[in-house]
Amino acid sequence: MEVKLQVENEILDKIKHTFHSAEVSIPRKQRVEVKLRNDLIHPFLAYLKDTLGFKHLSHISTVDWLEENEIELVYIVMNYDNLVEVIAKIRLDREKPEIPTLREFWPQIETYEREIHEMYGVNFLGHGNLTDFILEDWEGIPPMRRDFDTVKYAKETYFNRPGREDAQDVRTTITKKSGEEIPELAKVYSVRHLE
């Protein structure tokens, strides 16, 4: 059955008409996905908020594209009248990610931007309050970047309880002690330790 996407198509047409360089698609009902040029995110969100009625900022998300040396910011805004969500994506340079803040549109965006600054190292120009948020005195690369080795860092920085490193499987240890064999059914769960 063909799904009617009348509202979504109307929004798609309006966006395409206004922003020629934007790549617009409709992944599913009530979703419109837009890929934008970096410098267009301000006018684009202003257009959505003031003209098309997307008054609600749901979220900003971040994706680290390590292989392409880019960081993607995903802005999700919603319209209360037709419940459509527009997902606007921009890509920043991974070495020096900078984008002007959007505080003047939604004051609550400050918190998201602070967190992204701390976890991914994105610099929001004109934000004014990019201080320590959840992490205190963090040194080195931001922890949510993909080239940050979490396990290595945790092992180096914090103390380990002795006996934890070998990560013994309880099932294997008990069967060794008692001299029994692991049933076929349970072997699936112990493969890593049997190797």
């Binding site: 205190e136 922890p143 979490t150 945790a154 103390f159 380990n160 309880r161």
Partner: protein, 183 residues
């Protein structure tokens, strides 16, 4: 005024002291991590921890027991150390849940400590993720036993090995801008 006892009467006085201490454990109302959710049922009518003399205290200076309920991030650890140092003798620490023992499910996290007893002295551990109120009460009874035997020496250990604890604490807390409390 310093009162000096002979050995026998000192023993009797100590026994009375310990008896009094073990039956009035005031717990600081401070929750870290997810374990704090198990404390209200422990305190309220169903499990009624007040039967054992366990009650809540509002400020660190009034409290006897610091209950570390779950994982500690570096940011929280700083506050916990400050809270612990403000508490007055006698003071005891209970590590609550597997996160305080060996990191639990946060063993590979970039921002939570794994061994609580490297940073502050712990008198009793309660294992489990999360421990049920029964386990919490059993842990408190264990603490009462330890106090009655005179083995709850965490605060004294902390004072004697302060340099060692400070070195461990400052290994992860780089910006040490806390006051030094003189007990």
């Amino acid at each position: 005024m310093e009162v000096s006892y002979d050995k026998e009467s000192r023993k009797i006085v100590q026994a009375i002291e310990r008896f009094a201490r073990k039956h009035s454990l005031w717990v600081l109302a401070y929750g870290t991590g997810c374990g704090a959710i198990e404390v209200p049922p422990t305190m309220t009518s169903r499990y009624d921890a007040e039967r054992f003399g366990i009650r809540g205290a509002a400020t660190p200076r009034q409290a006897d027991v610091l209950l570390i309920t779950g994982y500690l991030s570096v940011k929280t650890l700083k506050r916990v150390i400050r809270t612990y140092e403000q508490m007055q003798d006698p003071k005891y620490v209970i590590g609550f849940g597997s996160c305080t023992i060996n990191g639990g499910m946060y063993w590979d996290s970039y921002n939570t400590i794994k061994l609580l007893d490297m940073y502050i002295p712990v008198d009793v551990y309660i294992n489990g993720c999360m421990p049920r109120p029964e386990a919490v009460i059993s842990g408190f009874i264990e603490l009462q036993k330890v106090i009655a035997e005179g083995k709850a020496e965490g605060a004294r250990k902390y004072k004697e090995n302060l340099d060692w604890y400070r070195a461990n604490q400052q290994k992860i807390i780089h910006n040490w801008n806390m006051p030094d409390y003189n007990w």
